[in-house]
């Protein structure tokens, strides 16, 4: 058993807790009345503290401890939540993240947290109700009512200040004894600090209680001084107006509240008892193991295809039955294995609200980040890669997209800018759109910059469409910010974005409407390594079409084919859609056109097209494999697969065929 094993778990869990703290903080900031968030944060911080102390990361433990103090004060209403408090908490989380990151990179997780610790300490020290040195007691309405009622019944009310000896070790125990004496004499209706705090020794050496009793002051004084280690007892009569007109009866709720104060609850505070049931049971599995499981399963799928083919040829009913059952079981297995690798994009998105908050604060902008479709799932490998490109785009939108509040108001827009991050499935792709309602892209500005930087020449500049102009911002060495800022605008960001996304087999496009905002649309493959596909025949060759792109198949008679601008089209359910002859496109040798067209209707987003093939072979599960490094970017081919007979079939990328 080596430490590293624990270390991994520690890092993973710390990250989860930090993420949770982050999330809850953001939510809490929006709704500072809901202390449920604080409890949640407190729990995570507490766990983190325990874990890091166990692992010997003292700075981590120290900082979380101070955070806990602040959070505790907040949830006990001893501290007003204001921006300073939230900022300090956010800063602490940042520091914690840095430390955890350092640990995960083999560092010692040490960081100078003195300043932060002081900051947090100062916040707690500023609590309006001093927790440690009880010096006064508040007479709120409830107490007043109670006092006047008891006065009516002839009881005396005393404010008793008990000072324990400073050397006293078991303060809580002494306090308990004091309370014991007091309760024999009468009823404690209020104490400062609260009874819970006193029980938990959260007081310096003195506390104040309000006692309602019919005992005399002297007798009380004497019996209290009998408790050992009590240094002094000050008893003052509480002046109570006999306001009999205060008719209000104590409502049941208030009565309960009184009981809570007087009857010393022997166990934890109610907050801790509210612990939510934990989530589903999970185990952590190394991603490498999942990968090798996947690889093995792919082999199995290929053999399954082979087996299906053989059994079809042999036509033996017993063999058929067995093969069919095996296919079914492996189908289920496949679903499970694929699902295991799928991760919601949430894992990437969840750090963005925080980032946008910080950035907009730094830049003096007001920005709201809306996230839609965070539960959209993507293969783990893709998830790992898209984080950085998205950060770049988001920073770009915050910095260049959204204008300053003043400028927005002048343009008749809402002072607060909106950035929308939306993820959704379409076909066998996942789309992530990043929209902002900012200034949009200025064509002239882009062109000028591109000319200045020698990316294009004047001649081409005139011929470019808007879209092509927008594409220019992905060119390397391009920066459109008038001033280079810390946030973005070094001109290194966006070309990296494009490269990363393309290396994942995806693409990124820009749409913009000057004055109204821009949209960056990222298309990513699911990289489901096993997909359902329709196998089609063209002459001697077989191709696979991902089922997710297909709407339906159709047989079209030549007379139904019309021509628009030299382009073959057909009327498909009332819509005119273009026909693409795949044999022509792929220059399939020895192709002869039959007396009718077999057409596969495919879609990309809203657009559709018909693909002409020779014949349909059937549906099959195929394993998606890359064409390798030697053949990158073959047009309209997204990869290859191995068929049951061991031959290779190419997979057609329908998205590339539809413009």
């Amino acid at each position: 058993m080596d430490m590293n094993q624990y270390l991994e778990v520690f890092i993973e869990e710390s990250r989860e807790h930090l993420q949770n703290v982050n999330d809850q903080l953001i939510r809490f900031e929006k709704n500072t009345d809901d202390l449920g968030y604080v409890n949640e944060i407190f729990r995570s911080a507490h766990t983190l503290k325990g874990m890091s102390a166990t692992m010997g990361f003292d700075d981590l433990a120290q900082l979380t401890h101070k955070m806990e103090n602040v959070l505790d004060a907040v949830r006990n209403h001893q501290l007003d939540v204001h921006t300073e408090v939230l900022d300090a908490l956010f800063e602490s989380v940042d520091a914690l993240e840095i430390m955890v990151q350092s640990i995960s990179e083999g560092g010692d997780g040490q960081l100078d947290v003195k300043l932060l610790v002081q900051k947090l300490q100062r916040i707690v020290a500023e609590e309006p109700v001093a927790q440690h040195a009880a010096s006064s007691i508040e007479y709120d309405e409830l107490v007043q009512t109670l006092l006047s009622q008891t006065a009516d019944q002839g009881f005396n009310a005393f404010e008793i200040t008990v000072q324990l000896e400073r050397t006293c070790l078991l303060k809580a125990a002494r306090a308990y004894m004091v309370f014991d004496v007091l309760e024999q004499a009468g009823d404690v209706i209020k104490s400062a600090p609260t009874v819970q705090d006193i029980e938990q020794e959260k007081f310096e050496s003195s506390f104040i209680v309000i006692l309602v009793t019919n005992e005399s002051q002297e007798k009380l004084q004497a019996s209290l001084m009998e408790v050992s280690e009590v240094e002094s007892v000050k008893i003052a009569a509480v002046p109570v107006k006999k306001e009999t007109e205060m008719e209000e009866l104590v409502s049941p709720e208030v009565a309960a509240a009184i009981q809570e104060v007087t009857v010393s609850a022997p166990s934890k505070s109610p907050v801790e008892e509210k612990r939510q049931p934990s989530n589903n049971k999970t185990i952590r599995v190394n991603i490498d193991r999942l990968d090798s499981l996947m690889n093995l399963f792919e082999e199995l799928v290929i053999d399954r295809g082979r087996l299906e083919q053989i059994s079809k040829e042999l036509n033996n009913s017993e063999l058929d039955e067995t093969v069919e059952r095996m296919s079914r079981i492996s189908g289920d297995l496949q679903t499970i294995i694929l699902n295991m690798r799928m991760v919601p994009v949430e894992t990437v998105f969840n750090r963005f609200p925080r980032m946008v908050r910080q950035l907009s604060k730094d830049l003096g902008k007001q920005i709201e980040l809306q996230i839609v479709g965070a539960d959209t799932e993507l293969d783990r490998t893709v998830i790992d890669e898209i984080g950085d490109p998205l950060v770049h785009l988001l920073r770009n939108a915050v910095d260049h997209g959204i204008e300053m509040p003043q400028a927005r108001l002048e343009n008749g827009k809402n002072e607060k800018g909106t950035i929308r991050l939306k993820a959704y499935h379409s076909g066998n792709h996942v789309f992530i759109d990043l929209e902002d309602d900012g200034a949009g892209i200025n064509r002239e500005k882009i062109l000028q910059k591109a000319l200045d930087r020698g990316i294009i020449d004047e001649k081409t500049a005139e011929t470019l469409t808007d879209k092509q102009v927008y594409e220019l911002i992905f060119a390397s060495g391009f920066s459109t910010a008038e001033q280079i800022s810390d946030v973005s605008g070094r001109g290194v960001g966006l070309d990296v974005v494009k490269n990363t996304i393309e290396s994942l087999g995806g693409s990124v496009t820009i749409d913009s409407n000057e004055g109204y905002g821009s949209r960056f649309s990222i298309q990513l493959p699911l990289t489901l390594s096993i997909i359902s596909a329709l196998l089609v025949q063209m002459s001697e060759e077989r191709y696979a079409l991902p089922l997710s792109s297909i709407i339906e198949t159709a047989i079209v008679q030549p007379k139904e084919v019309m021509h628009v601008h030299g382009q073959k089209v057909i009327d498909f359910r009332g819509a005119i859609i273009p026909l693409i002859d795949l044999k022509e496109l792929f220059t399939v040798p020895n192709s002869v056109q039959g007396d009718h067209y077999s057409v596969v209707i495919v879609k990309k987003g809203e657009k559709t097209a018909g693909l002409i093939v020779d014949s349909f072979i059937g549906q099959q599960e195929i394993v998606l494999k890359s064409l390798g490094h030697y053949l990158p970017g073959v047009f309209a081919i997204s990869g290859a697969t191995i068929l049951g007979d061991g031959q290779v079939a190419l997979i057609i990328d329908c998205n590339a065929l539809i413009k």
């Binding site: 496109l585 030697y630 053949l631 990158p632 290779v648």
Partner: protein, 142 residues
């Protein structure tokens, strides 16, 4: 150094054994549309999709039909894997690196840049292949 000697047309070529993964018999090749003519397509090599290059076409030699002796030499260079179609894979010979001579400028039909030099083994003249050049990631797309 050890080299694998193979035949292209009438000439013998050599490639370092270090660069060779295996030698395969010719099998069904799936054509890939839209790539250069010398890329014959891809095959399934024990579950891995591997591109196949026809060296005869690559070197502008006379195209020949595949026959009994035709082989695919599977090579690997860094992370690029590919198969080279050759007319025959003859044997493995040991050569002395010092005896490698530069390629005469007029090697017929073959772009000199794809060659590393020539070496004489007994009475055989073996042309050494410059694999990085042959597999260079220039545009294979049409």
């Amino acid at each position: 150094m050890k080299i694998i000697v193979f035949q292209l047309g009438d000439e013998e070529y050599g490639i370092s054994v270090e660069e060779v993964q295996s030698i395969e018999k010719i099998q069904h090749i799936t054509r890939v549309p839209g790539v250069k003519k010398y890329v014959k397509g891809v095959i399934n090599l024990r579950g891995v999709i591997t591109p196949i290059i026809d060296l005869r076409t690559r070197f502008n030699l006379q195209e020949q039909l595949n026959h009994e002796l035709t082989r695919i030499i599977m090579v690997r260079l860094n992370d690029v894997e590919a198969g080279l179609i050759v007319d025959a894979a003859n044997d493995v010979v040991d050569i002395d690196e010092k005896t490698i001579a530069s390629v005469p400028e007029t090697v017929e039909g073959t772009a000199v840049e794809y060659l590393n030099g020539v070496v004489k083994v007994d009475s055989r003249l073996i042309v050494l292949l410059n694999l990085p050049k042959v597999l260079s990631l220039e545009d294979h797309l049409q």
